[in-house]
Amino acid sequence: MEPVVNIEGLHHAFGKGSLAKPVLIDINLAIQPGEIVILTGPSGSGKTTLLSLMGGLRSAQQGSLRILGQELTGAGKKQLVELRSRIGYIFQAHNLLDCLTAQENVRMALRLQPGLSYDDRTTAATAMLDAVGLGHRVNYRPDNLSGGQKQRVAIARALVTQPKLILADEPTAALDSQSGREVVQLMQRLAQEQNCTILLVTHDNRILDIAHRIIHMEDGRLVRTESPTAAVV
C-alpha cells in the first residue's frame, strides 16, 4: 500500500536569493494509512511550514512531496486546489466563518463535493455535528460557542467530507486541558471510524499519548522519532 504521505529530500526556504532563509532541510517522512502521527518541536522549528506544504497551502520548492498520491513539487494551481478539497485541515484558530452557523460552516466543505443534493448536505452536516457532540448547537454562530465547541465544529468541517488525511495545526492551543483532551480524543475516534490518517502538530504534552508515532523537529530537521510511551515518561 502506498503511504498517505511520502516525503523525500524536501527543502524549503523563505525569502529570495542571498536573503533566503532555509526553514526545512532534507525532510524524509512516510506516513502509512490509519497512522496517527504527532509532530512536535520548539516554535520556529518549521512544523507549521511543513504542515502547510503538505496541505497544499504553500507551493513546494525542492525535493519530493507526495500527498494522497499527488506529487506537490511543481504541481499546478488546479492540482493544489483539487488536493485541498481531499484533505481535512484543522487550523490553530478554528477559522470558522463568523457569519455562518455551525451547520452552514460544515456545509461549506460539502458544497465542494460533486453530486450531493441540498438535502444530502443537510443530513451529512447534521450527522457530523451530532458525532462531535454538537447536535443541539447546529444553528449557533461561532460567537455563541465556547472555544472547545468552535474547535469541534472545525473538526466536523474537516471530517465531514471523509478525507483520507487530516492535518491539524495545534488544534488544542486555544483550549483548556479538559476540552483539549476531548477534542483530540474525538479526532482519534472519528479518524478510526473513517480509517483516516492524522498528522498533528502540537506543543501540548498532554495529548502525546494518542499518537502511534511522535516526531521531533528542530531547526528545520526531523531529529528523532519516538513511541508515545517514551515521550510521556
Binding site: L57, D98, Y118
Partner: protein, 390 residues
C-alpha cells in the same frame, strides 16, 4: 461555480449575503456610502440636465415642421427677420401655413415689492396657434383682450406672487415694459436658469408693448407642411426663395441650435465639469467601500481557499457581494435623488427630471465599479499562497 453547478442551488443561501447581513451596522455604512456616491452623481447629472432641458423648453414646445430664423441667430429670440418674408414663405409649394412667433425679454415690475426685473414674452397671433401647449391654446380667446396676458405658473417666485393673486381672484395690474397688464389665465411651461419666467400675449398686445417697428420683426416663423410634402425639398426651396439672411431649420435642428449655444456658455462648461467631478468622486467612494469590505473578509476567503475553494469560486462570491451592495445601495440613492430633484424643481421652477437612461447608466456604472474594485481587492488572495494570508 460555487452556487451554479451544484444541484438545487436556489436553496443554498449565498455566502456573500451571509457575510453582508451578519454585520448589520457595517452593511448600513457600506450602503449609505454607495447611496451617497449615487446621490452625488445624480445631483450633478440633474443640474446638468436641468440646465439643458430647461433651455429647450420653448423651442421644443413649438408646433411646426420647419422654422424660419435669422441666419445669425445663435438661439431662439436672438435675432429677427422682416415679417414680410413670412408671406413669401407661405407661397412656397408644400407649405400649408406660416405663422409668426415673437420671443423677447421685457421689463417686469414685481407687484409685491415694486422691484424691476425681467420676464420673457411669447407673442402669437391668437388666430394662428403655434405652441403645442393645450393650456395656452385653450385660452387664446383670453389674450385677445387689450393688455391681457397668460402667466406661466412655473415662473420664479422673484417675479411676485402672481399665481396666488390670480387664483385668489385679485386683479392687480402689473407693469410690463411700462404698460399696466393684467393676468387673464395661467399655463405651465417651466423656465430655465437663464429665464425667470414666461408670459403669453397676443401679437396686437406685443405691438402695444414694443411698437410697430419691433412688431414688424419676427423671432421665428413657424411653418407647417402640406400632407405628403417632402421636408427636404421644401426646406431647399425655402432657402432658395427667401433672402440669404434667413435659414430654414427642422424642429430637431432648432432644438440643437439652442442646446449647442448654451453648452458653449461658461455655465454649460461648469455643469459639464461638475458632472465629471461627481463621477470621479462617486467612483472613488464605491471603490473604497468595496475594497475595505472585501479586505475585512480576506482571512475567511483564505480559509475557504485552504479547504479547497478555487480562485474562481471565491471571485464569484466577491462579485456577488459587490452586486448586492450596488443594487441595495442604488435603491435609496435613486429615491433620495428623486426627492432632491423635486425639491430643486420647486425651489427653482426649473424642471429637473430623472431620465431612465441616465438612471440605468449610473446603476451600471456603480455595478461595474463595484465589481472592478472587488476584483482588485481579491487580487492579493489570488496571488498569495493561502498560508500567507492567515
Amino acid at each position: 461555480m460555487v452556487f451554479g453547478k451544484l444541484p438545487l442551488p436556489r436553496r443554498e443561501k449565498p455566502l456573500a449575503w451571509s457575510q453582508l447581513s451578519h454585520q448589520r451596522m457595517r452593511l448600513l455604512v457600506a450602503l449609505s456610502g454607495i447611496s451617497f456616491a449615487n446621490i452625488l452623481i445624480f445631483m450633478q447629472l440633474g443640474f446638468r440636465s436641468a440646465m439643458f432641458s430647461g433651455t429647450t423648453n420653448v423651442p421644443a414646445s413649438l408646433d411646426g415642421d420647419v422654422f424660419l430664423i435669422n441666419k445669425t441667430s445663435q438661439f431662439l429670440g436672438n435675432e429677427t427677420f422682416d415679417k414680410s418674408q413670412l408671406y413669401r414663405a407661405a407661397a412656397v409649394p408644400g407649405v400649408a401655413t406660416a405663422r409668426p412667433f415673437y420671443y423677447s425679454p421685457a421689463s417686469w415690475v414685481n407687484p409685491d415689492n415694486r422691484k424691476t426685473t425681467n420676464i420673457t414674452v411669447i407673442a402669437i397671433n391668437p388666430a394662428q396657434p403655434v405652441m403645442a401647449v393645450p393650456a395656452i391654446n385653450d385660452q387664446l380667446a383670453l389674450v385677445e383682450q387689450t393688455d391681457r396676458m397668460l402667466f406661466d405658473v412655473k415662473s420664479l417666485p422673484s417675479l411676485g406672487a402672481i399665481t396666488q393673486a390670480f387664483t385668489a381672484g385679485q386683479d392687480t395690474p402689473i407693469e410690463v415694459q411700462g404698460r399696466k397688464m393684467r393676468v387673464n389665465g395661467t399655463f405651465a411651461l417651466g423656465s430655465n436658469i437663464f429665464k425667470r419666467g414666461h408670459i403669453v400675449i397676443s401679437d396686437v398686445n406685443y405691438l402695444r408693448l414694443f411698437g410697430a417697428t419691433q412688431a414688424n420683426q419676427l423671432h421665428a416663423g413657424v411653418l407647417k407642411l402640406e400632407p405628403g410634402a417632402n421636408i427636404q425639398t421644401v426646406m431647399a426651396e425655402l432657402e432658395r426663395t427667401l433672402p440669404e439672411e434667413i435659414s430654414a431649420l427642422s424642429h430637431t435642428e432648432l432644438i440643437e441650435l439652442e442646446q449647442n449655444y448654451w453648452a458653449k456658455e461658461p455655465a454649460g462648461i461648469i455643469f459639464d465639469f461638475g458632472t465629471i467631478m461627481g463621477f470621479v468622486v462617486g467612483v472613488v467612494i464605491v471603490y473604497q467601500v468595496l475594497y475595505s469590505d472585501v479586505n475585512d473578509h480576506l482571512s475567511e476567503y483564505a480559509t475557504l481557499k485552504a479547504i479547497g475553494y478555487s480562485d474562481g469560486q471565491l471571485l464569484l462570491v466577491v462579485f456577488q457581494e459587490a452586486t448586492i451592495l450596488a443594487v441595495l445601495g442604488f435603491m435609496p440613492g435613486i429615491l433620495c435623488s428623486l426627492g432632491l430633484y423635486s425639491v430643486l424643481s420647486n425651489l427653482t421652477g426649473v424642471a429637473v427630471l430623472m431620465r431612465l437612461g441616465v438612471g440605468l447608466q449610473v446603476f451600471s456604472m456603480t455595478l461595474v465599479m463595484g465589481v472592478l474594485s472587488a476584483a482588485i481587492a481579491v487580487r492579493k488572495l489570488r496571488s498569495a499562497d493561502p498560508a500567507d494570508v492567515f
